[in-house]
Symmetry: C2
Subunit: 368 residues, 2 copies
């Protein structure tokens, strides 16, 4: 009994996990975290209107969700002043990135990203046999010029930029991003990941030209909308690229409750504004906590703050481990020199109180 004959590509893949979830860590630790500040979830929760809509829709969970995501796409199209044909809804940005990579990247095809940028994008590229080319950050920012130059050099199918950036929280102006789009080489598509864009200052997101074939943008209900567990992301792009997702996606893959929640959340602009204000205040508090510990908080346009621990990656990893020992869940960039930082999600005061209490102890332990 030989069992499965995997494809050569599948056989070659490591059983990687892009992220170890907090529940997984809690099980291996044998106890829960007191502060859950590592996954850039919105600890301020979902819109009360979204919550009510989800609780109501649960009664109809016996029905498959609408495979076309019609109502949500229509609402997003209206909000963004594009056509529904420019919008694809999927199982989080992660799911949509997987479909995009599958559509464009065959084994051996080149893809460009930044060393230390979003690991799940890399996971998908590797999973379809793509060859990743990485350029360094320029300081704490992804480097549009280097990304474009590398994309041209290697003939990349895709070039990835997150704006604002994860894990550093930095951002480029709309003008800078627009200039990058204008410089995208022939035959390359720019992946503009705007998961955190709702938290960013005015002038961060370039205007959307829905017919521009050079760029596909991704946004999500996981961050500012406080619905990470619902798995609702969306792509904005030219209609032919959006239509191509229908060739490969899991057509009935969306949870019906999530569809209803996202639609209600989209209509609750006041909640989004309130969350963004709370996040801004929380970022300030994280910066104060960092300062109180003689650490440097980097400016952030997201719902997290990268805190420079003032030494190398080994030291930051020790700080992270000591925080975990003290039941504080945070994460950190995976690549030098970004990995001198730890990345702390915004949260309400009771969560940041735990951080304020434990960070000095974690630092002392990491130093000693």
């Amino acid at each position: 009994m030989t069992g499965p004959r995997y494809t050569p590509l599948a056989a070659s893949l490591p059983a990687t996990v892009p992220f170890v979830g907090p529940e997984t860590q809690e099980r291996s630790r044998g106890r829960p975290f007191r502060a859950r500040l590592g996954a850039n979830e919105s600890l301020f929760g979902p819109s009360p209107r979204a919550l009510a809509a989800m609780q109501e829709e649960a009664r109809y969970i016996w029905k498959y969700g609408d495979a076309q995501n019609h109502d949500l796409r229509a609402a997003l199209a209206g909000a963004l002043n594009v056509a529904p044909e420019n919008i694809m809804v999927g199982e989080g940005i992660d799911g949509l990135l997987g479909y995009l990579v599958r559509l464009l990247v065959a084994p051996g095809d080149a893809v460009v990203t930044s060393a230390g940028a979003y690991p799940t994008f890399n996971y998908h590229v590797a999973g379809f046999g793509g060859v990743l080319h990485k350029v360094p950050y320029a300081g704490n920012h992804e480097d549009p010029d280097a990304l474009i130059a590398k994309a041209a050099e290697v003939g990349a199918k895709l070039v990835y930029l997150a704006n604002p950036d994860n894990p550093m929280g930095s951002w480029h102006s709309a003008d800078r991003v627009h200039a990058m789009i204008e410089a995208v080489p022939e035959g390359t598509v720019m992946v503009l990941d705007e998961a955190y864009v709702e938290f960013a200052p005015e002038g961060t997101a370039p205007a959307i030209d829905p017919d521009d074939p050079r760029v596909i943008r991704f946004r999500t209900f996981s961050k500012a909308h406080g619905m990470a567990g619902a798995r609702v992301g969306y792509a904005i792009a030219a209609a032919p690229l959006i239509a191509s997702f229908d060739k490969v996606r899991n057509h009935f893959g969306m949870c019906r409750i999530s569809q209803a929640g996202a639609l209600a959340s989209l209509r609750d602009r006041a909640w989004l504004d309130e969350v963004c204000a709370q996040v801004a205040a929380s970022r300030e508090r994280i910066a104060r906590i960092a300062r109180d510990n003689a650490l440097t908080a980097l400016p952030s346009a997201t719902n997290f703050v990268a805190v420079d621990c003032g030494a190398d990656g080994d030291f930051a990893r020790r700080v992270l481990a000591e925080l975990a020992e003290r039941d504080v869940f945070v994460r950190m960039p995976g690549v030098a020199p970004l990995d001198r930082c730890i990345r702390i999600s915004a949260g309400p005061d009771d969560q940041l109180d735990v951080l304020a209490e434990e960070l000095p102890r974690a630092l002392a332990a990491a130093r000693g």
Copy 2:
């Protein structure tokens, strides 16, 4: 601006949709269906305990779901007397079938199924470049001997059998399926789709040998558990095959509310029994309605009944269209000779009242 360069495989794929959803049909019709009896959803709804669990979990939707689906896998493993390492939870059987095909089927690889069997499996095989070989049904049953013979002949990576069968509702005994597993050729994996198994008589599901590398089974919360919109399916197989899903799956792809609902539903055995009893009664009523119209209801071990309209596919398609005209949503097999039937989902009496009222008119119109 050339835009995207699709892979040759992606460029070759049609923008197919395995099924047109009822909401899509309602939008193009401009009015809702009065009877939703086409998607084999459970019109008897979810367990009240599952509903309560989902409504409660909605409060925590700001958290990503557990990427390991730990609690649900543990509960399923306990219920099935296998190890959690034998269970993979995913975004419905559809999502899991996609991952399985991706792991095993490279362009040109052979896959075997029955002509008229589950279209979404075929969609995934085509989507990864596999070559589908189809054998006919033997009467109203999938034909294990023909499937195995074809798998051996073409060196198939996968051979698909649904037991009970969709769209015909027929079933094989556990002994017959067990014999088919024993006959699986070297290097072939049998895909045993048991989406409807909860509705089947005792002695339909063969005993689970979790270490048998020749078969992977799929089950779901979409049918008897009444949670189609939640997208929770699971695979049962040998641990190495289960582990391989971690190479390609969307690790954080599960909706947190769905995870909680499935876990609660699994613990509500009484609800499952009640639904199965209601479905059995509903099948009887559909058979009576068929008989009243001089049509033949085929025996069914599922939550739907295939009704032989007594003529060819063109006639059954007219009946289907006339039912839709009268706001009754049903579906039918896509391939002759199965397409002499229409497929009617079980449902409560108020839904079947609509069917009883409209079927004679639809038949008359189809004949006239």
